[in-house]
Each structure stands twice: as structure tokens, then as C-alpha cells.
Symmetry: C2
Subunit: 242 residues, 2 copies
């Protein structure tokens, strides 16, 4: 019982550009199956050359790079609607790994069919470029955050950015957001040590701005956190869904 692209639950969200009937039909042929993985699973591995591409239907995860000395940088979070494997599809191999931090359902595509986007479905190809440019933009924001902000600012910015993406997708309940990550994950994303991440979180808790634990984050004063962010956290208009 694989979900038909015509009834893709993500398409209901209006963060995503609507698709024409023709495009939906094309995606239907492009999709070759679904992959369900448990929390903790590695979906794609750095250096690998997976013949498959994925689009996230549900679940959360993260992309990260490992360093020779064992450290790890989380380069960004993976949400429903994220497209995985483009790098391997276009360059030779994956330049980072992707891990599921909750159970996930992924649409599976054939990497070799990617070319059909460009040959047969220029609007979809355009969307692909759009997505790539958008990812680049997000990454530039993260770079700016890590390069120029102190721990508290990074934390507030990072969590607000995360909350905003959740809101776009409607996977939150008011101020309650799913948060299937360890503090270590957060630390690796923000370029902080685990201990300092913990202490920074504590401060936010003590001030009553935040609850975090058991897979859930609650923002009691999003306004205050936004003020501390330095970088404004905007919802980019719309994005394409692949």
C-alpha cells in the first residue's frame, strides 16, 4: 500500500508549490517505491554511491559530516519534503550522511531517472534547481550563525529556525514541536560542546522560555527567543515539492 503521488499528504500543505496534473503523473512514474526505516537508521552514507534518491514523506532526521578525528558536524535537519541524494546524483558520491532520528517513510526514486526531469519535465527540473538553491541559502544562514553568534544566540536562532520549518509543515501543535534529537545532536549542529549546549538550554529553561525533553520541545516565549536571534528567522515563501 504505497501512497499515490496524487494523494500525497504533503501536497495539502501550502508551503509547497502546487503541481499540475501532468507533473503529478510524471512523479507517479518516477516513484519506484517506499522505504520505511526505524529511528537510528542510516539512510545514506558519506562516500557512498547510492543508486537511489529519496523524498521524505514523514519523520525527522539529520545530515552530518564526520571528521577524521571523530568529531561530527550536523549540516542540517531533514524534514518531510526534503529531497535526499541529489549530491550523489549529480556529483559522484554523497558528501555527507543522512540519519533518521525518528521512524521515517521515504519515497524512493531511481537515480538514473533523474535525467528525465530535464529531458521531459522542465518545470520539475526547474524545481530541482530551486530546491538546491534554497538548501544553499539555508546553509549560508547556518554558516553565518555559527561564524558570528555566541552560544545563546545560536541556540535561539537554531531552535527558531527549526520551529519555523515545523510550523510550515504543520507538524507542531501550537507551541509544542516534535524534537527527536539528543542534546549531542543539537551541539553538533550548533558547533558547541555537549556540556555548553546543556548549560545554555538550562538558562532558557530557567527563564521559562523553553521546555525540552522526551522528544518534545515547547516554546513558551517565541518572541523573546526571536529577539535573541540576531538573524531574523523568516519563512521563505513557498518551496517546490519533489
Amino acid at each position: 500500500m504505497v501512497i499515490d503521488c496524487g494523494h500525497c499528504p504533503l501536497r495539502k500543505r501550502d508551503v509547497f508549490e502546487p503541481l499540475s496534473d501532468e507533473e503529478v503523473e510524471f512523479m507517479r512514474r518516477f516513484k519506484i517505491g517506499e522505504l520505511k526505516v526505524d529511528a537510528g537508521a542510516t539512510v545514506l552514507m558519506e562516500g557512498s554511491n547510492s543508486p537511489q534518491l529519496f523524498s521524505v514523506l514523514s519523520g525527522l532526521g539529520l545530515r552530518y559530516k564526520l571528521l577524521p578525528n571523530g568529531r561530527r558536524q550536523v549540516v542540517n535537519f531533514v524534514f518531510p519534503g526534503s529531497f535526499l541524494g541529489l549530491q550523489a546524483g549529480v556529483m559522484g558520491e554523497m558528501k555527507h550522511s543522512v540519519e533518521a532520528t525518528s521512524a521515517m517513510v521515504l519515497c524512493v526514486f531511481n537515480r538514473t531517472d533523474l535525467w528525465n526531469f530535464f529531458k521531459l519535465q522542465p518545470t520539475r527540473a526547474y524545481d530541482l534547481t530551486w530546491l538546491a538553491a534554497m538548501e544553499e541559502h539555508f546553509m549560508g544562514e547556518a554558516l553565518t550563525s555559527i561564524g558570528q553568534m555566541n552560544a545563546m544566540q545560536r541556540m535561539c536562532w537554531g531552535l527558531m529556525r527549526y520551529a519555523t520549518r515545523c510550523s510550515d509543515l504543520g507538524i507542531n501543535d501550537r507551541d509544542r514541536y516534535p524534537f527527536p534529537f539528543r542534546q549531542q545532536d543539537l551541539a553538533d549542529a550548533l558547533g558547541l560542546s555537549l556540556v555548553h549546549t546543556n548549560k545554555t538550554l538550562m538558562k532558557l529553561r530557567e527563564q521559562g522560555d523553553l521546555s525540552l525533553g522526551d522528544g518534545v520541545m515547547v516554546l513558551h516565549h517565541p518572541d523573546r527567543m526571536k529577539d535573541r536571534s540576531l538573524l531574523p528567522v523568516g519563512s521563505p515563501n513557498r518551496r517546490p515539492l519533489i
Copy 2:
């Protein structure tokens, strides 16, 4: 006397994917002129909505984001062959600024013609996506560097990455590389203060690994610097030229 795409000097470099005659002809029609700017000029500004796209023919520059508090993050360096303005072309507006740090010559294109890539020239559209994915990759590397390395490691990694790109383009002379940047630019790129950047450079100079000044960088012991980099600095195979 505008350079004809058929005789583009960059195409001689074998870092760039070769183009078919048809593609060259297409690019010729796409190109609407050339822009020459002096060192210090702002080519694109954050928040702007330029109707033009650019491809760098010669010269060096940098992309940066400004923060409300006046700080600045250099998100990457601009080399010959860099494509500028894709973000504005595909999202609504530029998310960073681009500044020329040396004199530059740019090919100018019409943003509204971008769609022709997808409609008429799928191989070129594919290359565009390729480029975007590659930029994303570079940015992920930089993020990892700033997030996980100390000052000396970042410096070595950053300079080696820079030198490698120069070598790919053949704009170096052995171990001598053009370097039209201030220490402040380097500092903003590495997420370090100006003072600490200066002192880190000093250490490299004292150890005889590096000369830097007057627009020129000389690497006397690239091997030693590579060792201190933590992240291996590889030349990615080939990239498309737009």
C-alpha cells in the same frame, strides 16, 4: 569587444566540462554583454532583485551576509567560473551580497532567459543544478570547518581550499597565489576576530609555511598545512561552466 563564448578563455581549463557546439551557440545567445568593475565594487546586494545574472570571466571577489549588529560573514569566495545571482533568479531576491575584491570582468545574462535553459537546453539546465549542488557541498564543508575546528585548523583548511581552487583555474604561479583580500575578509570568512586571524597568520609565517601580503600568498609548505587541516582538501573532479 565582447568575448565570444566560442573563445571563452575559461573553456581551455580542463576543470570545466566541455561544451557541445550547440551549447556554445546557446550560451552565445544567452549572453547579453559584459560588465567590468573595479576592486571594491558591489556586484549584487542582499535583498536586491537584480534582473541580471553574471558569470565571472576574470577577477576575484567574495559573497557575504551582513548581520543587524554590523558583523559580517563571508560565505565563500568568488572565482572565475562562478555563477552569480541564481538565488535571486529562483527565489525572489539575493540572500547575500557579492563584492569584487579585484577588478572583475563578468558575463551578463538576462534573468528572465533563465527559463530557456530548462525549456530549450536540458543539458545546460542539468549543469545549473550540478553547480548549485556543488556550491551546497562547498558550503557544508565550510560549515564543518567553522563548527568543529580551532583557529589554526580553520586557517590551514581555508587557505588550502583557496589554493586548490586557484590551481584548478591555473591562476597561480607555482606556490604563488593571487590574494586580493584583507585580513578582515579572511577573519570574516573563518569566523575569527581580526586580531586572532593576524596572530594565527603570524605563527604560520614564523614557521616559514606562508608568506602573505601585497595581494599575494605564497605557500612554502603546502604539505604541512594540509596536515593541519583535519578535513582533506580535494579537487572535485570537474564542474560545469555556465
